[in-house]
């Protein structure tokens, strides 16, 4: 893996997506645990206010006495800029909620700004033809500044590599996002870890080969994200 310490200095990772339940929390929650190993002064800002999400799972683990506490805070999208402007943290992950409608201008505006601040933009994509086709339209709404950043589309809930290839072939050519080679399979451990008192995928005790493969998949994905970003910025 590339020089992580150098890369994560003041890093801002923005996690976005056009729907609920596509894997944004899975990604954000586990990434903050990973990031915490390298930068104690980091924070996940949970703007996914509509549903039970990262901040709620962090409370679960705190109540269960699981260490370390995860630095996750719930911030309404309207307050995001003000909050960040006063933040002393050295690295941030910003997780946005589900799709903004045309009427939800405040959320849309906040997301556009966050994309401009972000150093890495991540978007999980459920491996289904409908979601794959819809992503192209979602991408069109994003600000042009995203062209200056590594933007990675991460296939999630993949049934098989063969089916994933078939689905990705149906995706219109994307303008900004690169589809990651690593993907997350449709595994119970990715959901069950949350239910285990808010544990991350890195903390579960594997009970099956599928669990072990899930941990490997997530590690591989993190490595690819970091390497992609490092290559982008060093280039």
């Amino acid at each position: 893996m590339q020089d992580i310490q150098k890369l994560i200095q003041n890093l801002v990772i923005v996690i976005i997506g056009d729907k609920g339940g596509i894997g944004k929390t899975l990604l954000a929650y586990n990434l903050i645990f990973w990031l915490l190993q390298y930068e104690p002064e980091c924070e996940l800002i949970d703007c996914d206010n509509d549903q039970f999400s990262s901040a709620d799972f962090a409370c679960l683990r705190k109540e269960a006495g699981i260490y370390p506490n995860l630095p996750i805070i719930n911030v309404p999208t309207q307050e995001l800029e003000k909050y960040l402007a006063n933040s002393k943290k050295k690295a941030h992950i910003i997780e946005f909620g589900k799709s903004f409608g045309e009427d939800d201008k405040a959320r849309r505006k906040a997301l556009e700004k966050a994309v401009k601040w972000g150093d890495i933009i991540l978007a999980p994509l459920p491996a289904s033809p409908v979601d794959a086709l819809a992503f192209g339209k979602f991408e069109e709404k994003l600000p042009v500044e995203i062209a200056n950043k590594p933007a990675i589309l991460i296939p999630n809930r993949v049934k098989s590599a063969k089916r994933l290839r078939m689905i990705l072939n149906s995706v219109p050519q994307l303008q900004y996002f690169k589809i990651s080679e690593s993907f997350l399979s449709d595994r119970l451990c990715f959901q069950d870890s949350f239910l285990d008192n808010g544990r991350t995928i890195f903390e579960i005790k594997p009970k099956s080969d599928s669990d072990r493969d899930g941990i490997k998949e997530f590690n591989k994905l993190v490595e690819e994200i970091i390497n992609t970003a490092a290559t982008f910025y060093e280039g």
């Binding site: 200095q9 801002v12 402007a85 700004k113 601040w117 069109e140 042009v144 982008f232």
Partner: protein, 112 residues
Amino acid sequence: MKDKNLNFGKSIADKIKQTKDQENDHSKTDSSAPSFDNAISKIASNKDEAMKEFNLKPITIGGKYDLEGEEDITLTILAKKLSGGIKQELASRYVREGIKRDAKKYNIPIIK
């Protein structure tokens, strides 16, 4: 990499400030510049002369879209530059993004 993300490595407060500054720069218009509508008609009436007068170079529209009415879109973009609505360094990216928006606005068909 086509363009550097100049905010990389800066603190979040600096990132926010820089983004605000950029937005302010982009929203500034040259008070001596013609309005967008005037710019359009000026270029449309005598493109060669307008381009020479304002030291504009033709923009080649590439990428994945083949366009009908390419000339009209080029004029639109030139006019935007002329009226101070778009910064020079953003022009190439604007072309890519702007194609679809302007095509829709000016009713120009896009063929994939």
